[in-house]
Amino acid sequence: MSLLGLRRMRAGYDARSVLHDIDLDVEAGQIQVVLGANGAGKTTLLRAISGTIARQGEILFDGRRIDQLSARKIVAAGIGHVPQGRGTFADLTVDENIRLGAYLRTATEARQDRERWLSFFPRLRERLPQQAGSLSGGEQQMLAITRALMLRPRLLLLDEPSLGLAPIITQGLFRTLAAIREETGMTMLIVEQSANLALEVADSGVVLESGQIVLRDSARNLAGNDEVRRIYLGYE
């Protein structure tokens, strides 16, 4: 059963359209990865789903139309978005960032979940009183993910979590995401430019080119696909 369904979705910025008639299904409990070069429309795709930009067409979440909802209502419906560049509250402490992630939830729920997610990211526990802006890139990414998890989302959108991180850090991050999916069954849609690490943890994937989906397959097949290997995985 698909948790998220896009039907002929179009989106863009002002007069410039970026995405053309996207059809996409994300199955519940799966990790799906969206591959594509710079400018293919990956970030636009996530922003359209989370309602932070204007979009047309149908977006179904758990069988319910959400394409007319505001970004805030979509968050409340259970879609967490970790934006590109992490978007942590740099002036606030790590602890405050995490608390703000639970803005829509009760204090008791927030306390329980905080412990749970910090056990996945123990590094953050040591950094709780520190200003978020002073964290390293990897720690900021962990914080951005933890903040989104505090919503207890049913679908987590991740925009290039590997951006600016060393490969070893990225690898650890993807393993943690896989572990979270394992334990909670959370559905994830991950946009990535560095494809190999993402495909290792994903179940399926699509390739986006100039605002259109040109290829969709299981993660295993995509990792073995010659063209994907040549363009996105850097093999000749």
Partner: protein
């Protein structure tokens, strides 16, 4: 020594008033990046409102509280009706509109209440008391205590409540605040409301010292600008420290440098503004904006 000490304490009381108006400026600036040039005139109207409510028979303190509450609503309305619709306009447009509002409010006060000065009673009893070396008037002590209590309440709001945290988040990174479910426009609305309420407090505290008249905030707003510039326009602590420093320096200079005296005191504020901008443009507590590419 006694004169020096009493100048310091009087300076702190003046400074507390500047600090509350400077805080109002900092609040709207931090949340929306806009300096509300009409903040002083709004405070003047708030003080007139107290006078009007008293003329209608309300006692002073309830009148002051009602005026502060009405000012909160007026600040929120200003944001909703003018600032938010102009949020995508150029900064110059917004500044022009707010300067226009400044003139309009000033004329409005003259139109309704005339330009004849009116007395507004002080919130505090007359008389002095001794505290060690200091001979302090009840009003001076009262002003310092009231502003201190308001600061404490603000601190508790921002540091201990969920809505305070959401307001800080919305001011710091609005795009991310949306993604955790915070209504950014609502937070900015509350921020502008609080700013107007703080401005009202400064107007109500200063009116008994300068008499109620449509131009009563002209000097105070300059000192508040000096305080906010000195402390750093994006810093709440800076506005408070800046306000107190400006108040004390203004009083000492007015007393000890004879050729300046009370008439030229306003120069002190302007020198502080220029000096800060030349030497430390972000102010004592402000953070320089670093744009990451």
């Amino acid at each position: 020594m006694t004169l020096f000490a009493s100048q310091i304490v009087d300076g702190l009381a003046d400074g507390a008033i500047y600090a509350s108006l400077a805080l109002a400026l900092v609040f709207s600036y931090r949340s929306t990046g806009i300096v509300n040039f009409a903040q002083g005139e709004m405070a003047m109207l708030s003080a007139y409102l107290v006078w009007q409510l008293m003329a209608w028979g309300l006692p002073l303190i309830p009148a002051a509280l009602v005026s502060i509450a009405v000012s909160f609503v007026a600040g929120a309305l200003l944001y909703a009706s003018i600032v938010r619709p102009l949020s995508h306009a150029s900064l110059l447009t917004v500044v022009s509109v707010l300067i226009g509002l400044y003139l309009a409010l000033n004329s409005l006060a003259g139109f309704i209440w005339t330009y004849t000065i009116k007395p507004l009673p002080s919130l505090f009893p007359k008389g002095h008391f001794r505290l060690g070396w200091f001979n302090i008037s009840a009003e001076t002590a009262g002003i310092i205590i009231v502003v201190a209590v308001v600061l404490l309440l603000l601190y508790l709001l921002f540091e201990t409540t969920k809505i305070g945290l959401a307001m800080r988040g919305a001011a710091s990174t609005p795009d991310s605040a949306v993604l955790v479910g915070v209504s950014v426009p609502l937070m900015l609305l509350i921020g502008w409301g609080i700013a107007a309420a703080l401005g009202a407090l400064s107007g109500i505290l200063v009116a008994p010292r300068v008499f109620l008249n449509p131009t009563m905030m002209f000097g105070v707003i300059i000192y508040a600008f000096a305080a906010a510039t000195l402390g750093g326009f994006d810093s709440i602590v800076g506005a408070v420290v800046g306000g107190l420093l400006v108040g004390v320096v203004e009083n000492l200079v007015g007393t000890y440098i004879p050729w300046i005296g009370p008439d030229l005191k306003i120069i002190v504020a302007l020198v502080l503004i220029f000096g800060t901008l030349l030497i430390k443009p972000d102010g004592l507590f402000g953070r320089s904006k670093v744009v990451r590419l």
